[in-house]
Symmetry: C2
């Protein structure tokens, strides 16, 4: 039997119990097709299979590679690329091979790319306040008409209120989510179709409008989301590291650094210790209040500050239940 002590470090470790509780809690609130889990959060078809087993047959993707990999893993029943892409030839090949692929379009250029690439179904992507992709709500109907005129099937409308995910106060988040989904609804009236896609882990309680929620982070959870009072999912992902050096000066060095952690939300944290800094392959820590330095050879588990880009740095994640390593999932949707 493999135990975490046998793993080569740094290693991405998933707490199996926490993951399963997160999947169950979300499936209860957003069952079946009501949830379209976003795979960008974990980039791992092994985990996506668990989400499918929890009842969700449709998935959200952020890259062409994610669409290809999900289809290759037998999870291609209904894949949404919730992102704009200008070369869809690889997506057309996935459609050709039998998967269902729907793409977001927010301009005539992206619409043309869908036609040229052989993708046949689209959602009109609408700007609901996040300064990123999405057409102006008042342009959505025109774009839908153009898509239909070009022979595409318009399944509906999409709008992601990403700017609201981390609004701390649930009431304010609810109020502003209602404004955003109001824009989405008005655009949807012009667009037609049955799908209203959007939302995420941060608005799982406050977005009551979408027909499918695009949540991804809930499965492994993130330090930032974990601070929200109404988002009770558990942090299931840690980076296991080995202490490789200890200095009398009062610090210890673990073998996981900038190449093992997504750093855009800052340093990882280590319960009971103070993280001083990260370099390429090291994180240097000092004891927490009243704590002792670890010893050379000790294993420690860091909480990454941002899960999504952390997963993208690792080749595999280990599924662990206490002292048992249950499974190893390749992070097989990395790259583009």
């Amino acid at each position: 039997m493999t135990t975490p002590a046998d793993l080569s470090t740094p290693a991405l470790v998933v707490d199996s119990g926490a993951l399963e509780r997160n999947l169950a809690l979300m499936a209860q609130a957003w069952p079946g097709r009501r949830l379209r889990p976003h795979v960008k959060a974990h980039k791992t078809t092994g985990l996506a299979h668990r989400q499918a087993a929890a009842g969700h047959a449709g998935f959200t993707c952020a890259t062409v590679r994610e669409v290809e990999g999900m289809a290759a893993a037998g999870l291609g029943e209904d894949l949404l690329l919730a992102n704009e892409v200008l070369d869809m030839r690889r997506l057309g090949a996935v459609v050709e091979a039998g998967a269902r692929v729907t793409v977001a379009v927010d301009s005539p250029e992206v619409l043309r790319a869908a036609v040229d690439g052989g993708v046949r179904e689209v959602l009109v992507d609408v700007d609901v306040g996040l300064p990123r992709c999405g057409c102006a709500p008042e342009d959505a109907g025109r774009l839908a008409d153009a898509a239909r005129a070009a022979g595409l099937e318009v399944r509906g409308t999409m709008g992601y209120e990403g700017h609201l995910m981390l609004v701390a106060d649930p009431d304010e988040r609810a109020r502003r989510t209602a404004e955003a989904t109001g824009l989405l609804r008005r655009a949807a009236a012009d667009v037609g179709g049955e799908v209203l896609s959007g939302g995420g882990t941060g608005t799982w309680r406050t977005n009551g409008v979408v027909t499918e929620l695009q949540a991804g982070s809930y499965a492994l959870m993130d330090t930032a989301y974990a601070a929200l009072p109404d988002v009770p999912f558990e942090q299931a992902l840690t980076v296991l590291a080995t202490v490789v050096s200890v200095n009398r000066g009062g610090w210890a060095v673990a073998d996981a650094g900038l190449k093992a952690f997504g750093m855009d939300h800052g340093n990882p944290s280590l319960p009971g210790a103070k993280v001083l800094y990260c370099s390429d392959e090291h994180t240097v820590v000092a004891p927490g209040d009243g704590g002792a330095l670890p010893a050379v050879g000790d294993r420690v588990r860091f909480l990454p500050a941002h899960v999504d880009p952390t997963c993208a740095l690792h080749e595999r994640m280990w599924v662990v239940d206490g002292d048992d390593v249950l499974d190893c999932w390749p992070v097989d949707l990395r790259g583009w």
Copy 2:
């Protein structure tokens, strides 16, 4: 002929001319064995082959995987793992297969791992002021004695003055580098052996003591190093992206984000534009002073804020000379 316009984005692009000029300039100052290029900066054996062609037969590595990959690529004449590792069995297998592998040791535990793993040559790693790995200088002689008693060959001493690489004033950097190398020299007198290894791109002019410089960043260069007046290497690495969405509100969205850029030094930059923020697969930019918004489909080239972790996110780098794509190098030393 492939041109950059044909590349799928995001793509890591190396300016061939800048790279070759960087390699030539460094090889002039630190010829042959005087330079031990650090492969952690690029993780790419294709680039390491260019460094070998510039005259450098020995290389520095930060991970076991880097050592394995360099040996497999035929670059195993003299590999230094300048890092502490507690399980060296995979390194022993590389030695067994015919490569020369030397490891850093800074504690009895790591020394024991070398013996147990079948690695036969070591450098004693000394703390010269960077709060990371390295034994106290006064312990170096004892550790060398213990290594010899355990049957290991002690090739010399190593000490990395990483805390001084980005000291802005060259004179202050030189003065403090002399203090650090003074510690290294005194430890080396106790340790014996012929090798004094250390230094980096930031101290390429100010470290006059080491017998071999462990510089890595000089090849592709980094935004932070490029700000130093006495470090004239050119920034050779960009991330090519496609503008996938443009908003009347005054922003454009490119298809390279947190998973395409090392973010620990902050956002990437885009000449002529203002970077607003990055999300998983997007960077949102506004026009620079007096500039215009790009159009959907335009190609742009971002300068990553930190090259090392940026390379670790990509599967390959494209070697480009103007409009010609000359080569494609797998980033084959990623992972651990």
